[in-house]
Structures are given as C-alpha cells and as structure tokens.
Symmetry: C2
Subunit: 211 residues, 2 copies
DNA sequence: AATTGTGAACCTCTTCACAGCT
DNA sequence: AGCTGTGAAGAGGTTCACAATT
C-alpha cells in the first residue's frame, strides 16, 4: 500500500465531520470547492487527498455527501467498533470516559484504571475504576485495541511500557512527554498544552493571525 | 520577522518539556543529538529549529539545559502569565479548569461560562460558573487573552462569533468542527477525535507502526 | 575531539492547470 | 458547462555534510 501522509489522514477526519454537518443540514451533494471552504483549505487539496483512495466524485456534479462520508468511514476504520482502555482516572481520564464524540465514532471505552486505592472501585459514567496492576489480565479480557494514557508526565513512560508488554498495539498519549515504544506499536500524542503554547507564541510575536 | 513554520513552533514546545525533564534529573548540558533522541527526531532538525531564533549552543559542548529552557520560554511567550476563559462547563471544560499543565506554563483560567441555568452559579475548582450572556463584560473585566471553546459542535461557531465580537484575539477550539474567524484572530483546533481516528486508520490498514 | 550552525541538496506536500468525464 | 482526477510545477520542510568554534 502506498504511503499516505499524516496530514492527509487528519484532513480525512475533518472532511468526515464537515460531511456529517452537511448531511444533518440535508445537503445531498457537495463540490470539492465547498468542502475546502468549510475547512479552510484548497479544493485541489481535497481532490488530491481523496484520489489516494479511489474516485468518489462525479465530474460536473461533485460528491454525494452520504456516499463520501461512508467511504471515508471505511478508509478510517470508523465502520466498526474499537475497544478502548483509559489509564488514569484524573480529570482528563474522567472527561474522556464521558466524551460522546469517541463513542459516536466507534470508540467504546471498556476499561478505566488507576493506581490510587482511593479511586479504585469508584464508578465513573457507569464504569468501575480498576486497579492498574490488573491491566495485563483486563486488557486481554476486554480485547482492548487502543489504550489512552492520561496519567502525570512522570508516570507516562512506565505506563506505556506496561501497555506494550500487555500487548496493546495502539496508544494515544495525553501526558505532556514524548514516549518511546517499539516500532510495531502505533502512538499518537495529544498534548493539549502544545496548541495553547502556539497561540502564546503568535500573540507574543504579534504576527498576523492567518500567516 | 521571518515566517516560522507551525511544525517548528510545536517542536519548541516539545524541546521545552524535554528540557524540563532533564533539569529535574539534574542534567546541565545536552547535545542536539540527545535532545533529538528524546523526541524521536534528527539532531539537524533540533539545530535548525533553534537557529531561526538565535545561537544558543556552544560548539563542541552542546546546550545548557536551564539557559535553553529559558530562551525557549521567551520565544514561546511562557515567561509571562496569560488570562484564559473557558466557554462550556461540560466534561472537557471542567477537566481543563483543573489541568495543572496550563497553570504551570503561565495560562491562568480566570473565567468559565456556560449557558445552562442549572450550571450557572456552581463552582468548579474554586471558580464560579458564569452566564455566557455576560461574556462581553466579563472578558473585558478579566482582561482575557485566550478563550477556549468547549461546547458541543453545533454551538461552537456561534460561540466563536461571540468571542470575536467581545474582542478575543486567540481561540483554542475543542469542538469537533472547523470554525471561521476573521484574519486577525488566531485559532487552533484541538480535536481529540482526530488523533484516535488516525490510530484507527493505521490499525485498519495494518501499516507498519513507525512508517 | 566534539558538537554547533548553516548553505545546499533532497524530499515531501501543496497548488496549478487542464484533459476527461458527466 | 461544470467539476473531478491527476501529472507537472512549485513551495516548503527536512536532512546532509562540513566549516567554524570551543
């Protein structure tokens, strides 16, 4: 399979959401130009991104919103359910358990774990907080596909190592530290401070906003 | 001022965290090679990124960790405090109010607002939830620099318009929808679903992880 | 001897521009 | 006539490789 850039995959997620929005509004057909305008990019970019995966439009007409949304769901693997575990029942872990957008797109939070005895046994959003020491057993039992790390920075690498050991193949890291995992494990970072720091940079340097 | 790429700015945030980690460990000097290894990139990239802003290292020796951290803080605008407002007191809004990493890097959450009468008046983390209708007044009063949108997708654009109207110059958007703002307003998206969908894509297509 | 700082080469991603289809 | 799909051109970002410096 041809190598698809990370930027392209991320834009597909954006198109997917824009299409959802259009479908809600009852729009049945959309041009690459309109889709591009919604996400602040160029129409050539939209067409090029889609062209890596096939031909979905009709020349002279555009794209059928429902059909394109389904095709993108297929490409992104959103046409199935994924079992997700969260490590860390702090503020972020708790917010993620309840995050509707995850469940809506096929990500089912099946397991939340923590190391704090005070927290273990409590329920969040109908889910019992389990002891992180039971992770290997529980991850196998719940057939976890993706693990989310939501622990403090200084515990993150250790948790990542444990998850890899337990056989997890994909990790989403919310801790503000770069983690090391073996080449066969997929890892993505969601560092919420990085984006706000980019805003800080732009405000400090008084750049024009959209440059 | 020379145009600095978004990638460079984001990497600076990463270097900043890696340096914090090294300083905690008592390390006083670091080479571009070591810093690169921590963040999984090349040493040339580290040196090139830094070179846009000045010369911070000593040839033959490397970089002083504390000095470099301070220089990056200066570049990113983390050597001052920023006043932040959050719109939306749902799960994400509540998690962000308590997010230590923000406060630690200079972002003070001064205001949280919601439209739900049931929530208005309640306290989160010692902060009273205010009526979003009072936003213009409160944003001016608290001298808000950055606003965070943490409302459902279908309310996000309306909130963004209101924030722009109220004079906010920088917005961090957690709602899963692309927003339109005038050119003079800085906006960054923190769509938590995009990264997990990228994992879904990679798992679905059984690509090698680090490719 | 070691490591930075940087022009040049290289590579990847984006945009252009138009043939091809509806 | 209108809009897609795509090869080619262009822009931008990354890596190389080495002179400069400690």
């Amino acid at each position: 399979m041809k190598k698809i850039s990370d930027s392209t995959v991320k834009r597909l997620s954006k198109y997917y959401r824009s299409l959802e929005h259009l479908i809600e509004k009852g729009v049945e057909t959309v041009s690459s130009e309109e889709l591009a305008e919604m996400d602040g990019i160029t129409s050539a970019q939209v067409r090029k991104d889609l062209s890596f995966f096939g031909t979905f439009g009709k020349r002279g007409l555009g794209y059928n919103t429902r059909a394109l949304k389904d095709q993108i769901a297929e490409i992104l693997g959103l046409n199935r359910r994924w079992n997700v575990a969260i490590v860390g029942a702090g503020n972020i872990g708790r917010a993620l358990v309840a995050y509707e957008e995850f469940r809506k797109q096929g990500f089912d939070i099946k397991l939340i774990m923590d190391s704090d005895p005070q927290k273990i046994g409590n329920e969040i959003h109908g889910l019992r907080i389990e002891d992180v020491n039971r992770a290997p057993e529980l991850i196998a039992q719940e057939r976890i596909d993706i693990a989310i790390i939501a622990v403090p920075a200084n515990a993150a690498q250790q948790v990542a190592d444990m998850l890899v050991e337990a056989g997890v193949k994909a990790i989403l890291n919310f801790a503000p530290r770069s983690l090391k995992v073996p080449p066969h494990v997929h890892i993505k970072n969601e560092n919420m401070a990085i984006e706000i720091e980019a805003l800080s940079y732009h405000l400090s340097n008084r750049n024009r906003a959209n440059s």
